[in-house]
């Protein structure tokens, strides 16, 4: 756990009370109508950090630097950096300090802060923003948290040949950003792999993550269009959530079983599922690993420890607890990781699973992709409390909230969570805040319940791929031409895989009867033989 620098550098607090109350009033309107709201507490509270007004309106974590120090308030551009708000939710204070709030810690009062390592790019800037473009692609400045630290900056340039030496880049970054050096040094994304990755043929993990996101996006685009053209029956994109998937997958190993909901194809892709395997499943052809049993996007792979996707929401949560329990009994250094969305947190399985994991001491990581919508239900209708993460102390488990569009933050959180879960045999809840850029699925038209403008603005300003690319370009790891070439290459690969998959023959009819039971019962054997004889007798009807 990080020892905050705050204890060494006390914050100087400049007070402008009126300025404060106007700010808090605007933030006060959560989702309750103001007419029915009680007047907000205006009392002053003495604390180590000076007089604080309206403390209930701000996240109060003792010794936590996520404080809106008023010296920063004057900088309007900085005000944009202070809160995160996707999907029209309540503005959430941002912090540069990754702290896994454990059950023994004091719980944040009010809104839990969200951890972010990398600055968000704002392509479409609001009118009063004064931020300059140089800040895109940066590691977040802890001064926005009110932390004064010596800044060793910008004469330090990114070393050459970083692409071939990720470890050197990591050392440079850690040196340039001393406050976050801990997370940077521990980050697996900034660590070269032992053996070259098969798909990129290089050891560079960070560039592989970027490439995989590009590939994932192209696959989503093309298969979505394939559904619109009637070539497959159903598809579901994970557009906007790729940072969560790649960030989490890169912090895990194949030995960690993944219990996905349905929007996590990125995790499978990171582990090594090929484009051919994806498209074979969507087209249900003879090479489909699932033998044509499931709808498209219900991938599964025993080899990659990714449990076959099951449609009912939330059922995978107790499964993950069971698997985690088994891992604990066997003493394996692995955790069970479970992905789900904000809507699934309302299912009874969510409650049972989290309560169970905490009482049974099961090393499970529950990763909630809070993307603002459960089909058409916005999170304002889904919960009345502070999102999903506020429930963690209720169950007696550790938790942290991260910016889901920041791949480094998600990676750091999952890495920390895995370490915690293994060392203490305890579950962890991670809430990753993000935005669902696409429709819920091909059976949905999201313009019915949200404005196209909201989608476009959020996409332009907070897209995870844009953020990562800005970071890579800023540090000379990538150029615009490289990205173009990569996009075209990946697109061609996906199209080729899809066309091949479409042309393959369908699953043979004998697979209708297999795998109902471990050993095929007599009556099914007979029916299978009958069907085969029938097809053989009338081949022209079944060509």
């Amino acid at each position: 756990m990080r020892i905050p620098i705050l204890s060494i550098h006390p914050i100087k607090v400049l007070r402008t009370p009126r300025h404060f109350s106007s700010k808090s009033a605007s933030r006060a309107s959560k989702n309750r109508s103001l007419s029915s709201a009680r007047p907000l507490p205006q009392e002053e509270v003495e604390s180590d950090w000076g007089t604080i007004h309206d403390y209930k309106q701000r996240a109060m974590i003792p010794y936590h630097p996520a404080r809106l120090a008023p010296s920063i308030q004057e900088r309007t551009s900085a005000a944009q950096e202070m809160t995160l708000s996707y999907a029209g939710t309540v503005p959430i204070p941002i912090t540069s300090n990754l702290q896994l709030i454990q059950p023994e810690d004091d719980t944040p009062r009010g809104i839990w802060p969200v951890y972010r390592l990398m600055v968000s790019t704002h392509r479409r800037r609001p009118q009063n923003a004064l931020r300059t473009l140089e800040q895109d692609g940066e590691i977040r400045d802890p001064a926005y948290d009110g932390i004064n630290q010596p800044v060793l900056r910008p004469d330090v340039t990114t070393p050459d040949d970083v692409e071939d030496n990720l470890d050197q880049f990591r050392a440079f970054l850690a040196h340039a950003h001393p406050y976050q050096s801990d997370e940077i040094q521990k980050s697996g994304l900034l660590r070269a792999s032992k053996y070259p990755y098969v798909d990129t043929n290089s050891n560079n993990t960070l560039l592989r993550a970027h490439r995989q996101i590009v590939r994932l996006r192209q696959m989503d685009d093309i298969l979505l269009n394939a559904q619109r053209q009637g070539r497959i029956s159903f598809y579901l994109t994970c557009r906007g959530e790729e940072a969560i998937l790649m960030g989490a997958a890169s912090a895990l190993e194949v030995g960690d079983p993944v219990f996905a909901q349905y929007r996590e194809q990125g995790v499978l892709m990171w582990r090594g599922f090929t484009l051919e395997q994806f498209t074979n499943q969507c087209f249900s052809n003879i090479l489909d690993l699932g033998k044509g049993r499931q709808m498209p996007i219900h991938y599964g792979s025993r080899a990659l420890n990714y449990h076959t996707v099951s449609s009912p929401l939330g059922t995978q949560l107790p499964h993950a607890v069971g698997a985690a329990y088994r891992l604990k009994l066997a003493g394996e250094p692995n955790v069970a990781v479970c992905f789900f969305g904000d809507g699934s947190t309302s299912t009874p399985d969510f409650h049972s699973a989290l309560n169970f994991a905490a009482t049974l001491n099961a090393p499970a990581i529950f990763l909630c992709r809070n993307n603002g919508y459960a089909i058409s239900t916005p999170t304002s209708d889904q919960f009345a409390g502070d999102g999903v993460i506020s429930r963690a102390p209720g169950y007696g488990m550790a938790g942290v909230r991260v910016d889901g569009n920041d791949i480094f933050a998600v990676h750091a959180a999952v890495r920390e969570a895995k370490q915690y879960a293994l060392s203490k045999n305890a579950p962890v809840l991670i809430e990753a805040m993000t935005y669902r850029q696409g429709h819920h699925s091909t059976s949905d038209d999201s313009s019915q319940y949200r404005s196209v403008d909201e989608v476009l603005t959020t996409t332009e300003n907070h897209d995870p791929l844009n953020r990562l690319e800005a970071f890579l370009k800023k540090h000379d790891l990538l150029s615009e031409e490289d990205v173009e070439v990569m996009r075209k290459q990946e697109r061609n690969d996906v199209v080729k895989a899809m066309e091949q998959a479409e042309r393959r023959p369908p699953v043979p009819m004998r697979e209708l009867f297999t795998d109902v039971y471990h050993d095929m019962p007599l009556h099914l054997q007979r029916q299978q033989a009958q069907l085969e004889a029938h097809v053989k007798k009338y081949p022209e009807k079944y060509a």
Partner: protein, 362 residues
């Protein structure tokens, strides 16, 4: 021709030892209660295989809600005998997750009525998963619990789930009657790599049956899918499962006095149904009366009627099949109403008499 609409309010057959008739004449036989037989089966399997564990409400320190898991907590500790919070959906899901990872859980439902809370997990995550995942996710799990009526527990604690579970492909469903059935089927269920539902009966837990030497051994397994002919007969076939087998045995005894020789079949396994035995017996006697406790529509008896229609057993029938089932109402509480909603011996006798007096033109 449903006989469940004609009721006589008799005192319901209780735990009388008239039912505990031995149908096997082995010399050395010990009297063992059904609950002890199940306990022995679980104990022996847990000893034999370390990956077997049992979880449910009250199974550990309370020794089981019906004392079926008595002594297991002391013997195996809290890693393998786990008390769960009150969330059927949760602990069923947890057990299924563990089963996916090659453990062999036994999930106890306090009554199978509460398994309705977990029905989605049982069907969508256990029964169908081997098929849907094309063999990736096997689920070697056992769901067990008392099924069907009890004494004065009313509608939400008296439903029979035989028909619902036995209609699901991917599940195996067994329902024992005697202690031997209970032990052999439970062991078979635990050793089976498929998900198995074991429908016990609360009122049978205390009933003792003689168990042979062979049945007391540690490897006594009754293959799933085999029915048992409790009494051989020639005039009419009585088919049933679980507690109502006792009813049929009593009726057979009474019919002997009337000169009707009844063959009693104890199904033992609802999925797969032992179609061979049913058809062979129907061919032999030509008259069938099927008895079950559950509701008449789409019940086990309906399935047996379909078997008799679809196979060549139809050609051997001398009379239409008769069903004696529970009344088509949620189970009431008052004693007389409850008795009126359940099949009684008189109903079975009436059905048999109707069946045997009906003769096609000779």
């Amino acid at each position: 021709m449903l006989s469940n609409f004609s009721r006589h309010s008799f005192v319901r057959v209780g735990k009388s030892s008239a039912l505990a008739k031995s149908t096997r004449s082995f010399a050395a036989a010990t009297q063992v209660a059904v609950r002890e037989a199940i306990n022995a089966a679980i104990d022996e399997e847990m000893e034999r295989d370390e990956s077997v564990f049992i979880l449910g409400e009250e199974v550990a320190q309370y020794q089981g809600a019906y004392k079926v898991t008595k002594g297991l907590y002391e013997k195996y500790g809290d890693k393998r005998v786990i008390d769960t919070p009150i969330t059927e959906m949760g602990f069923t899901g947890l057990a299924i997750g563990a089963a996916y990872k090659d453990l062999r859980p036994i999930v106890e439902f306090m009554t199978m009525n509460f398994s309705m809370q977990a029905m989605d997990q049982v069907i969508n995550s256990a029964a169908k998963q081997y098929y849907m995942s094309a063999g990736d996710l096997a689920c070697p799990i056992v769901f067990r619990g008392p099924n069907g009526f009890s004494a004065g527990t009313a509608a939400q604690h008296s439903q029979c789930f035989g028909a619902w579970y036995s209609s699901v492909p991917g599940l195996k469903v067994v329902s024992p009657y005697s202690s031997e059935d209970a032990k052999g089927l439970m062991k078979a269920a635990i050793r089976d790599p498929n998900p198995v539902v074991v429908l016990e009966h609360e009122l049978m837990y205390g009933v003792s049956f003689p168990m042979s030497e062979e049945a007391m051994s540690k490897d006594f397994v009754i293959p799933i899918g085999q029915a048992k002919i409790e009494i051989a007969g020639s005039d009419v076939t009585l088919i049933s499962f679980s507690k109502t087998v006792g009813l049929c045995l009593e009726a057979a005894e009474a019919l002997k006095g009337e000169g009707i020789s009844a063959e009693v079949i104890n199904l033992r396994s609802l999925r797969p149904l032992d179609r061979k035995t049913i058809i062979a017996s129907a061919k032999k006697t030509g008259r069938v009366v099927c008895v079950e406790q559950g509701w008449p529509q789409c019940g086990i008896c309906s399935e047996i009627a379909a078997i008799l229609m679809e196979t060549d057993a139809f050609n051997y029938l001398d009379a239409p099949m008769e069903r004696v089932t529970g009344a088509d109402v949620p189970m009431p509480y008052a004693v007389d109403l409850e008795n009126a909603s359940l099949p009684q011996v008189e109903d079975v006798l009436a059905a048999v008499r109707r069946t045997t007096y009906r003769k096609l033109a000779a």
